[in-house]
């Protein structure tokens, strides 16, 4: 499988033993027009794990993440090849409705993008769309619960009617996380979810990630090595569109095998 890696034993295999696979990606390639953004990416996402994607800016982490919930479909000129399975089902199969995939694979985008609606309506957007909440009381409960989990409740409980776009950048980021988890997805893709949060708020999100991983799979993009060490079960390093290395976080950090990973880690701690 890892055609691009020198060390065949650097693998999901190393950690795969005893793990149930949630998503399986093989030989995924993404093109933006002529630009080859992802090359032969192969990796598995296990059930109930936190998988961190790391790598230099522009190496294709976001692009890869968007393949997992078919958000690349919405980008003009983009083309995805290869196979991505969710619970053994090909999510790019013609019979599959991408909308359905996105309700199962939730996403928190890199830049916070709350709706210019009230905080409440932001959270209620997904549940209302899919109609799985009955009645105002149940919705109130879900909104509060989601906001609490994202560590935002205390800050916004008195201004649920204010526009989500009027919150601070960090609050908006947490609002988007709360909005995504209100949908109760099976897999949650998070693109730098704590990039504009202070250490306390970031810690709340990290706790949330750990807590969520008891039930869900989480794929997390982050630039912070410390954070990866704290929350990620496994880590994949991307380099210029290729997966340079993937393995148990502790392992890859302590003894990286790919020279590109070695450089990256040394640079980060350097």
């Amino acid at each position: 499988m890892e055609t691009t890696l020198e060390k065949p034993e650097t693998a999901p295999d190393r950690a795969a033993a005893g793990h149930e696979t949630k998503m399986e990606c093989s030989e995924v390639n993404v093109f933006y027009g002529d630009f080859h953004a992802i090359r032969d990416a192969t990796l598995n996402v296990h059930a109930r794990e936190v998988l961190a994607l790391m790598g230099p800016s522009g190496c294709g982490k976001t692009t890869f993440l968007r393949c997992l919930n078919r958000m690349n479909d919405a980008i003009e000129n983009s083309r995805v090849t290869g196979r991505i399975l969710l619970d053994g089902q090909d999510i790019y199969a013609p019979a599959i409705d991408p909308v359905h995939i996105r309700t199962r694979v939730g996403m928190v985008a890199q830049a916070p993008n709350p709706f210019p609606k009230s905080v409440y309506d932001n959270i209620a957007f997904g549940p209302r769309l899919h109609g799985f909440v009955k009645g105002r009381a149940e919705m109130d409960q879900l909104v509060e619960h989601s906001l609490r989990r994202a560590g935002l409740w205390d800050e916004v409980k008195d201004k649920l009617d204010e526009r989500g776009t009027d919150l601070s950048g960090g609050q908006q980021q947490r609002l988007c996380i709360a909005r995504a988890i209100a949908n109760d997805p099976e897999v949650l893709l998070m693109d730098e979810p704590v990039s504009s949060l202070d250490p306390n708020a970031a810690a709340i999100i990290e706790d949330l990630i750990t807590e969520l991983s008891e039930d869900y799979s989480i794929v997390l993009i982050t630039h912070s090595m410390e954070q990866t060490r704290r929350v990620a079960d496994r880590t994949a390093f991307f380099y210029l569109g290729e997966i340079a290395e993937i393995g148990i976080t502790q392992d890859v950090f302590d003894n990286p095998r790919d020279p590109r990973t070695v450089d990256f880690i040394r640079g980060a701690f350097g």
């Binding site: 919930n69 958000m71 919405a74 003009e76 909308v99 359905h100 996105r102 309700t103 939730g106 996403m107 985008a109 830049a111 993008n113 709350p114 709706f115 210019p116 609606k117 957007f125 997904g126 769309l129 899919h130 988007c176 909005r179 995504a180 949908n183």
Partner: protein, 435 residues
Amino acid sequence: MTDRPENFTEWYTSERFNVGVRRRRTREGVLRGLGMVSILLAVTMLVTLFGSIFYQARTAFVQTQIGLEVALPAAEFDGGTQAGADAIKDVNFRGLVADALYASLGGRPDSRGARREMLALISADASFQLMERVIEEPSLIGQQSRFWLPASDDMHNIVQGVVDRDVTEDDRRTSDAQINWIERLEDQGMVRSAFAWDLLLRNDSRDPEVAGIFAGVVGSALMLTVTLVVSLPLGVAAAVYLEEFAPKNWFTRLIDVNIRNLAAVPSIVFGLLALAVFIRVFGMPRSSPLVGGLALSLLTLPTMIIAARAAIAAVPPSLRTAAMELGASKMQTVSKVVLPNALPGILTGTIISMAEALGETAPLLMIGMVAFVADAPSSFLDPAAPLPVQIYTWSTSPERAFAAKTAAAIIVLLLFLFLMNAAAIYLRDRVQKKW
């Protein structure tokens, strides 16, 4: 750059630096001056325009009325105070009004010519207005009471000073005798100027002193209703399709170019099209608000589509992505996120194109909406003369009093346009806050 001194304090105090700064300031000053001059020019022209319109219109907003003690002998009315509307309509009100007028000017003149001249003091419509009032209030029958009835347009012009009463008789339409009479009535306190409710509440008439714009306003309202009902949904649907769903290929680009061109087509062409299609082919009634509204829809559709597309395109892409990430389908994304966010822009575009349609005259002339219409249309199929057409017809009427009426109708039209634009701004702010 290269010969810039090392020492910055030296540079910032040097002559060369100061020359540069002065030149920049001069240039900015000239630019600001030019801007101010052009704004001043625009304001001057606007003030002149409004000033002249308001000055012209001033006498149209008052109605000169003559007070007459009219006796309504019960014997004239079949059934007395119990007379029904039909019985009242049979009564010779002209005679009653004439008798009252003779009485207040010292008796019935002997010659027919003098009688006609005297009757020309009051509006030909006065007897109808008296009749209307009696129908409203039959208890007046059997009594003599004072009625304020409109003076004729010539007398109105004399009393309001539009026509100078001191010029020689040959130079004015009114005779010396008439001026004498009106002055006698003025001395008796039987001439007054009241607010011209007739201007707003009555329909068009051949007699300028009682002609009003009510039918025109109703006609315009009916027509704009048709236009709105047709062009808003069509325009929004077209815009949504073109912005959100259509593939970007040569065909959609062709459509795009065509829409932009249509927006620039002279409006009279749309009138021709409406005449050919709606009247000739589909046999819809000429001069009706239905055809007028459809013709105006053709005119407003391109503008509507362009405005709605701009509003839709201005919705940040990140909101679409957010909705899709939460599992919204394309349709749900459009209806729940894109349209609500584009609504203020769409509303503004709608109201502005409706305002444009309200002022449009040329295409309506093509579909026969120039006829004199005495009654307000009561359905979309009745003949109507919308407000701008009425302004056009009035402006071509020979009677002098119509000149002031024209200006007054223009003011009313401007008022409607102003209200519509204010509504556009209000709605935009409101909707923006709500979403």
